[in-house]
């Protein structure tokens, strides 16, 4: 079975559309400056509705991870799921996978950067690789 693919909606389409152009876009609140993920119609910090997609650097750090040994659709176990803290804001996180790192070597604190990865004709995923610092 293949990896599940995203079904965007009105609030999330910009994220997937940006990735197709090799841009990592995160919603940003023009009223208070807060970065927002997952996308929503209002800012969870100030309640403001002037929220707009804005490009981020794609740089981050592995905040935590799990190595999954159970069978999951589209994945050959064992594989690692990571939470990446983006550098723009503490706690601004993406769920992702690391490219080029064996599951047993994934570690908290590893600096990473985004790799735009084609997985279907219309789907690019923001995977990550180790960033040289």
């Amino acid at each position: 079975m293949d990896r599940p693919l995203p079904q965007p909606d009105q609030d999330t389409e910009f994220f997937w559309e940006g990735l197709r152009r090799r841009e990592l876009l995160i919603q940003h609140c023009d009223e208070c400056g807060h970065w927002i993920h997952y996308p929503k119609p209002a800012c969870p910090r100030c309640g403001g509705t002037r929220v707009k997609p804005k490009a981020v650097s794609g740089r981050g750090v592995v905040h935590t991870y799990t190595v999954t040994h159970n069978a999951v659709p589209g994945f050959e176990p064992p594989f690692a799921v990571v939470l990446v803290d983006l550098e723009e804001q503490k706690g601004l996180r993406l769920v992702s996978n690391l490219i080029g790192v064996p599951p047993g070597d994934v570690a908290i604190g590893t600096p990473v950067e985004v790799v735009f990865t084609d997985v279907a004709p219309d789907v690019v995923l923001p995977l990550f690789k180790v960033r040289e610092t």
Partner: protein, 379 residues
């Protein structure tokens, strides 16, 4: 506002797989709870349940199944709620407020055997899952495993600590005749058990079963006239936290349990040091560890050593999950935690009885939502 008590508690048949309908299990649990209370269905005018992911029956089903003439109050509580404690808190508050006189709160779990965990996510996935499933992140165990991993990183919690949680709860289950897993385990058994998603092994996970549980809640005044000694419902709370998204939670080393604890202890003069028995939600070993820390039963970061020292054992500093929890007593989604607390405070627990137990805490929920209740033996 009236004082409220739990007057009766009962289980249905519980086993890994019971070849009966969820309705039949539910009605059995409700009838057992009523008979334990010394009441009949004619006395009931309120019902609440948490039907989970629509895997159980409604309040109406039970009203009809017990032949109730009518209901003055009912609630079917769906969505992100802290499992089986949800209807108990709702029903107790409804009795307190006078919406009804005597209410049943129940939770029944009947497993879906048609698909294994994580297997419902083929094809295209919408909602929040569109940001998880394409990366293989589809199981609750993975979400909480990532919280546990961060806790290990920040506080030095170890796999061995988690193993002692499993060992402790199994030891308690060995003294509970209705627990489905009653054979004691060792740390070697723990390390030899199958890894699900690190740091969780199968022995870190709750044990799915079919079964139900129910409690009968009424005014304390009325409960005093009933055959069994009433257990006072002192306070109950629900709590969320800063964010509704599991991955976006700022500090993954505490759960919404932190906020439930703050809310609960604000409501009473009783302190964590006064608690004699704790029945805390153990969807996973680490969930229980985090509840113990967040409730103030041990210092933050000391949850692992707390279990490894034996502080959570019957006879220890604060006996915890004395029925075996969900990990060894079966995943009844915390209604069993409520029932066990009631039975402990009545002194009905035989070999696993916490001697002189007067005050108990029950908690449910993991990650982003939490519920907690404080119960005490009526004097």
């Amino acid at each position: 506002m009236r004082d409220v008590a739990i007057a009766g508690a009962g289980y249905s048949e519980i086993a890994r797989a019971v070849d009966r309908s969820v309705g039949s299990l539910t009605l059995e649990a409700c009838r057992n709870a009523l008979s334990d209370a010394g009441l009949t269905s004619k006395d009931v005018d309120g019902i609440a349940t948490y039907p989970g992911g629509h895997d159980s029956v409604s309040s109406f089903y039970v009203a009809e199944g017990l032949g109730l003439p009518k209901l003055n109050w009912f609630e079917d509580l769906f969505g992100w709620m802290p499992a089986g404690i949800t209807p108990v808190i709702a029903a107790a508050e409804a009795v307190r407020a006078g919406h009804c006189e005597t209410a049943i709160a129940f939770r029944t779990v009947k497993r879906n055997r048609t698909r294994p965990p994580g297997q419902g996510f083929g094809g295209r996935v919408g909602g929040d899952a569109q940001f998880r499933a394409p990366f293989g992140d589809v199981m609750t165990s993975q979400w909480l495993a990532m919280w546990a991993r961060r806790h290990m990183h920040d506080f030095g919690t170890t796999e061995e600590h988690l193993g002692h949680i499993a060992i402790t709860f199994r030891e308690h289950a060995s003294m509970n005749p209705v627990a489905p897993l009653r054979d004691n385990i060792t740390i070697d058994d723990y390390f030899a058990s199958k890894i699900i998603t690190t740091p969780f092994r199968i022995l870190d996970c709750d044990f799915p079963v079919d079964g139900g549980g129910a409690v009968v809640i009424t005014t304390e005044e009325r409960a005093r006239d009933l055959p069994k000694s009433p257990v006072k419902y002192v306070a109950g709370v629900f709590a969320s936290g800063p964010r509704p998204d599991w991955e976006q939670w700022d500090d993954l080393t505490h759960m919404a349990s932190k906020y439930a604890a703050e809310a609960l202890w604000r409501r009473t003069d009783i302190t964590p040091q006064d608690v004699d028995v704790a029945e805390v939600y153990d969807g996973f070993s680490w969930t229980a560890l985090c509840w113990m820390e967040d409730m103030g039963f041990c210092a933050k970061g000391d949850g692992g050593p707390f279990f490894a020292r034996g502080d959570a054992r019957v006879g220890g500093k604060l006996p915890t999950n004395t029925h075996g929890g969900s990990m060894s007593g079966g995943r009844l989604h915390a209604i069993s935690h409520v029932i066990e607390c009631v039975q402990q405070l009545r002194g009905e627990c035989g070999a696993r009885q916490v001697h002189g137990a007067k005050t108990g805490v029950v908690t449910a929920g993991g990650g982003i939502m939490a519920g907690a209740a404080l119960l005490s033996r009526s004097e």
